[in-house]
């Protein structure tokens, strides 16, 4: 079986996405605490749930990115310049 090689750049990008998702989940939690007037301690006590939400966000970004990539592939659009141009 061939070894799967994930380039360093890709790992960095994915970690960045994960971080953004975690921040977004916390922002959602803060928003919910203010909106529903609940306890600020939930910022800590609901961390496990916030991490869970962060992974859901991350999964959504994967789906979205695959979709965008597929659409681009299908329409022939490419980020790179065509040879000869």
């Amino acid at each position: 079986m061939r070894d799967l090689i994930i380039p360093g750049n890709r790992i960095k990008t994915e970690l960045k996405f994960l971080l953004y998702c975690y921040i977004a989940a916390n922002i959602a939690n803060i928003y919910a605490i203010i909106r529903y007037n609940t306890e600020w301690i939930e910022l800590i006590t609901w961390q496990r749930f916030v991490i869970f939400i962060a992974f859901i966000f991350y999964a959504i970004t994967i789906v979205l990115r695959i979709l965008i990539w597929s659409i681009k592939k299908l329409t022939g659009a490419s980020g790179k310049a065509q040879p000869g141009n």
Binding site: A28, N29, A32, N37, T38, T45, W46, V50, F52
Partner: protein, 429 residues
């Protein structure tokens, strides 16, 4: 701050709370003459008879906090010199005596007496002090026998002097508030009370190696002639509380007990269980042991609307108010409804299963005291007004009598009722 809260609480509710503890009809004072009424500015002088473990502790409390209620210890009495010396070293200005009668001869210098002798030495100094015209705070339980307990009651009613029994839960803010909850119906109909007191030690006090003959004198609570062990030393407190909850005394008691672990020559059980029944069918189930301390001590008052756990300051409703879910859960809920409409995903809701644990609520906001000090507030009030606090003595009396009846139930294996002659309602008419 805490100290201030405690004092304010006591001022506002403790003695008001004594209205709560009048489960029996108001006591008619039999006293003929009123005696001296001390003005609130005068110092109250008390003597302590029995300066062992409890006597020393109470002497310490009065020395430290007595200024709050204008009380000071001016006389100490004990037959055992090392104990007398130990407490005298703490309060050197107090006069010392080896015979309580000698102390009572100097009674004009005293306003009250606190009795912390072993159980079987409660009646004699108590009756002597009452007959000398002094108010008495005697440690629980009242005495070793029904006759001696009754004799103390008779002396109290005859002299009209206060006789407080050291069931300090009567002055414990969480118990006072708890009783209010019971009487105001917050618990609904109370049909069961459960209490237990568990420890894990042999309950022995060290005896000087060169004086083995002091064994029974020092470890009096382990021998039947002097004590009923776990019942008179511990259960008495909770039996008083159960009567207080029910505003009544039991119809009967049944029980069992054994020396099942500490087989070291002691004569009192190390493992007991009792069931008291009240006339409305309520059961008070009690057990005590000294070979496992996992559950410590507790009194649970169980009603159809709520539960009190008095020792640990907890109140639980049977139908707790709905708990507000965490903000993030509410947000998900709204998103589910607004974005997805009513279309369920997988199941009717995709909220994660989050346990809604109801932890109850405290009976009093701060559990600062067990009532031991506060009982002196009541004692000082009785001394200053030269009259007993209505209803207080009866709590101690029936708490003590039913403790002894519990022992009878264990010894005889029979269901025991209170003999008519120990009913003191005749003194209250």
């Amino acid at each position: 701050m805490l100290e201030q809260n405690r004092r304010a609480f006591l001022r506002n509710s403790l003695l008001a709370g004594t209205a709560v503890l009048t489960p029996f009809s108001l006591m008619k004072l039999l006293a003929g003459e009123k005696g001296k009424i001390i003005s609130p500015n005068d110092k109250i002088h008390v003597g302590i008879i029995g300066t062992g473990s409890r006597g020393h502790h109470l002497a310490y409390l009065i020395k430290e906090y007595g200024h709050e209620i204008g009380m000071e210890v001016t006389a100490l009495c004990d037959v055992y010199q090392p104990h007398l010396d130990h407490t005298h070293a703490m309060i050197p200005e107090a006069k010392t005596y080896k015979d309580h009668r000698k102390m009572l001869e100097d009674a004009r210098e005293l306003d009250g007496v606190i009795i912390c002798t072993p159980l079987f030495v409660h009646a004699e100094p108590t009756i002597d002090a009452l007959e000398t015209g002094l108010h008495v705070l005697c440690e629980k339980a009242m005495e070793r026998t029904l006759e001696a307990t009754y004799a103390m009651a008779e002396a109290h009613y005859r002299t009209g002097k206060a006789l407080h029994i050291g069931h300090q839960r009567l002055f414990d803010p969480k118990f006072l508030r708890g009783m209010n909850k019971v009487y105001e119906g917050d618990l609904g109909k109370v049909t069961q009370i459960r209490a237990f007191w568990h420890r894990n030690n042999d309950w022995r006090r060290p005896v000087p190696e060169d004086q083995p003959e002091l064994e029974r004198f020092i470890n009096w609570r382990l021998y039947r002639d002097y004590s009923c062990g776990l019942l008179t030393e511990l259960a008495s407190h909770h039996i008083q509380v159960a009567n207080w909850v029910k505003k009544d005394i039991p119809v009967d008691v049944r029980g069992t007990g054994s020396i099942s672990f500490w087989k070291d020559g002691r004569e009192v059980e190390d493992n007991v269980a009792l069931i008291f029944t009240y006339k409305d069918g309520t059961q008070f189930i009690y057990d005590s042991m000294i070979q496992n301390r996992r559950h410590g001590l507790e009194v649970q008052v169980l009603g159809h609307k709520g539960t009190l756990e008095l020792e640990t300051n907890n109140f639980f409703l049977e139908d707790p108010p709905p708990q507000k879910p965490a903000g993030i859960i509410q947000l998900l809920h709204d998103l589910e409804e607004n974005v997805l409409g009513k279309v369920p995903i997988g199941s009717s809701s995709w909220d994660p299963e989050v346990a809604m644990t109801y932890k109850g609520e405290p009976i009093v906001p701060e559990n600062l005291t067990d009532g031991t000090w506060e009982q002196f507030t009541g004692f000082a009030k009785a001394i200053r007004e030269d009259k007993p606090i209505p209803g207080l003595f009866e709590e101690g009396y029936y708490g003590s009598i039913w403790t002894l009846l519990g022992q009878q139930a264990i010894d005889s294996g029979k269901v025991i009722q209170i003999p008519k002659k120990y009913n003191i309602s005749k003194f209250l008419m």
